[in-house]
Amino acid sequence: MKKGKIRILVDRCKGCALCIDECRYKEIKMSKKLNNHGYNVPEFLGKGQCTACKLCSIICPEAAIEIIELVEVEQC
């Protein structure tokens, strides 16, 4: 299983909450924060369960979610 995390571009987000439904690991949750446009935005929990599966970014209408894969590399 890949490991990953996401970055929400808070000011692009419109708080539609569709990403939350999509994450089967419940790594995303609605927060109490309002962004600059007054939308209530979700936050990434970072429980370490994110697999960088991209589903949240695919459903996100706003292209507001960046997906980051965490790749283990040998130190050299």
Binding site: K3, G4, K5, L9, D11, R12, K14, G15, C16, A17, L18, D21, E22, H37, Y39, A52, K54, L55, S57, I58, I59, C60, P61, E62, A63, A64, I65, E66, I67, I68, E69, L70, V71, E72, V73, E74, Q75
Partner: protein
């Protein structure tokens, strides 16, 4: 050591301007898909879009490639002329259901019949979003809108027009597919369909159109989630998704 590899970010073909559509609006999703495809196909420098009159008239704020306006409904006509002048560019019209099925019905049919080698992205949200949610020829039976306060009835307004089914008999038309964007899986399918429409054009195959069943939470008076559900349950029941025509 763990290094961070960004495997998805906002496509290059989008400007830094945020979409100004309502929360959960299908236009945003499709704009994003198109920008991703333009990046992936490496055609940003030769893509020319024609934006409709409708909520998506603002598309030119969001795509970082050439975009023209067109008078309401005449979108595919403007695209036709641009394509005829620049046959090596990738030209697509992007149209709402008011634009394409209502005021622009003759334009889309004649463009299709002439077999113009353009791609048409047709956003069906069963109403006129921009002007405040009035009934469109695509509005479902019994759907309440601001001009069908008792719900659309077939006696006075006929039946919702299935555009794809209407175009299918025209010989000039090479590719027709109806998609929805209600889940990651259906979104990926939609993306594949739009890609096919672009590739058809690049390969000179001819007129291609993809109809996207698209959420308009604002006019439907639904949350984004409810809107998506309504598409899955009601809209796509009347407008079946799938590939309807594909001639190479």
């Amino acid at each position: 050591m763990v290094i961070e590899k960004i495997i998805y970010k906002k496509p290059e073909s989008l400007t830094d301007c945020n979409f100004t559509y309502c929360s959960g609006c299908g236009h945003s999703t499709v704009h994003k898909l198109i920008a991703e495809l333009v990046d992936e196909l490496g055609i940003r420098e030769k893509t020319i879009a024609v934006a409709p009159v409708g909520c998506a008239v603002f598309a030119y704020d969001f795509w970082n490639f050439d975009v023209s306006e067109a008078p309401h409904g005449r979108t595919p006509v403007v695209a036709t002329a641009i394509k005829r002048i620049h046959p090596d560019n990738v030209v697509f019209s992007y149209q709402g259901d008011g634009d394409l099925v209502s005021i622009g019905l003759a334009e889309i049919m004649h463009t299709a019949n002439r077999g113009e080698n353009i791609s048409v992205i047709f956003i069906n949200n069963t109403n006129y979003g921009m002007t405040g949610g009035q009934m469109a020829p695509t509005t479902l039976l019994n759907q309440v809108t601001t001009t069908s306060p008792m719900g659309r009835n077939s006696k006075n307004y006929g039946y919702p027009i299935k555009m794809i089914e209407l175009l299918v008999s025209l010989q000039g038309v090479k590719y027709l597919e109806r998609v929805k964007i209600t889940s990651p899986a259906s979104i990926l399918k939609a993306k594949k369909a739009i890609k096919k429409a672009f590739l058809n054009q690049i390969n000179g195959t001819g007129f291609s159109m993809v109809e996207v069943l698209s959420a308009c939470p604002e006019s439907w008076k639904k949350t984004p989630r409810e809107a998506i559900k309504w598409i899955d349950e009601e809209v796509s029941a009347y407008y079946p998704v799938g590939k309807i025509k594909d001639i190479e």
